[in-house]
């Protein structure tokens, strides 16, 4: 049992745990905006850890640097906040239900108005 294998296994375990936590958050949290937090953060980091494990594994397997998984990691780090932002905008537009204990609803209404103004610009 060598060290590289143990490190790879630890990273795979961390990745799997964070992926699972992201999905648990998605199914457990009470409203859409809260659910948005779990997948954008936990799942992205979980996949990052898995890709790191894959890099270590293939580098030790082949004997040269195999780092092309970095591409997926960076792509996800760039796109995860963008898709979260777009889904939040869509959620505002379709008037998704919010948890009753949410504070700052006047800010939400301002954002919603801005969203509707923009929809008025749109002419088919």
């Amino acid at each position: 049992m060598d060290w590289i294998e143990i490190i790879t296994a630890v990273f795979i375990l961390i990745g799997g745990l964070f992926t699972l936590i992201g999905s648990i958050g998605l199914s457990r949290l009470p409203d859409f905006y809260m659910r948005l937090h779990a997948p954008t953060k936990a799942t992205t980091l979980g996949l990052g850890a898995l890709l790191l494990a894959s890099m270590i594994h293939f580098t030790s397997l082949r004997g040269y640097f195999s780092i092309h998984e970095l591409l997926i990691t960076f792509f996800l780090l760039i796109t995860a906040p963008v898709s979260a932002h777009m889904m939040a905008k869509a959620g505002l537009h379709v008037k998704t239900r919010v948890e009753d204990s949410t504070r700052g609803l006047e800010v939400r209404d301002a954002a919603k108005r801005r969203n509707e103004e923009n929809a008025d610009d749109y002419q088919p």
């Binding site: 939040a88 204990s101 800010v107 969203n115």
Partner: protein, 167 residues
């Protein structure tokens, strides 16, 4: 515009470096043939697409940018552990809320970077930008103190961005 006029045969130097590296990463090699092909693509593609680009503010302080990227990466790991604890803990303890963060930066690229940073770091997701680009509306998973959250975002993420892009 300052960028496009400076080098005639290398209109987008940063993009060229990026294309070169992405090609080598995609093929996972350092062979001579791929180095040449990557160099050709890194020169040819920016020449073809240069007329399409919007002018964006250029990076004035590259060292500070590297430092900021490392800081944000560290914060992402911390954010994940915090969110994981919040998600697995009791739900009634959470106090979600919306906050409007006033912005000092005006250009598109720094605002995009700030919104992405906010989405990836502790307990906040950016939802919408006001029409005059003076407020960013964000949602916080556990809103303890609005003023403190706004100051943290402004000092930790916005001030360095402002310095990096010099605007």
């Amino acid at each position: 515009m300052e960028n496009t006029r400076r080098f005639r045969f290398l209109p987008m130097p940063m993009h060229s470096v990026l294309l070169f590296m992405v090609w080598l990463l995609l093929n996972n090699t350092l062979a001579l043939g791929h180095l040449l092909l990557a160099a050709f693509l890194a020169l040819a593609i920016p020449l073809l697409v240069a007329p399409l680009q919007h002018t964006q503010p250029s990076v004035r302080r590259p060292l500070l940018a590297v430092k900021q990227v490392l800081l944000v990466l560290g914060d992402i790991v911390k954010a994940n552990i915090e969110v994981a604890i919040l998600v697995m803990g009791p739900l009634s303890r959470m106090k979600p809320g919306f906050v409007a963060v006033p912005l000092d930066i005006e250009r598109e690229l720094p605002i995009t970077l700030l919104a992405s940073t906010i989405s990836l770091t502790p307990g906040t997701v950016s939802c919408e930008l006001s029409k005059d680009r003076r407020f960013l509306y964000i949602h916080a998973l556990n809103l303890v103190d609005e003023e403190e959250l706004i100051t943290t975002i402004k000092e930790r993420y916005e001030a360095p961005l402002k310095e990096i892009f010099g605007c």
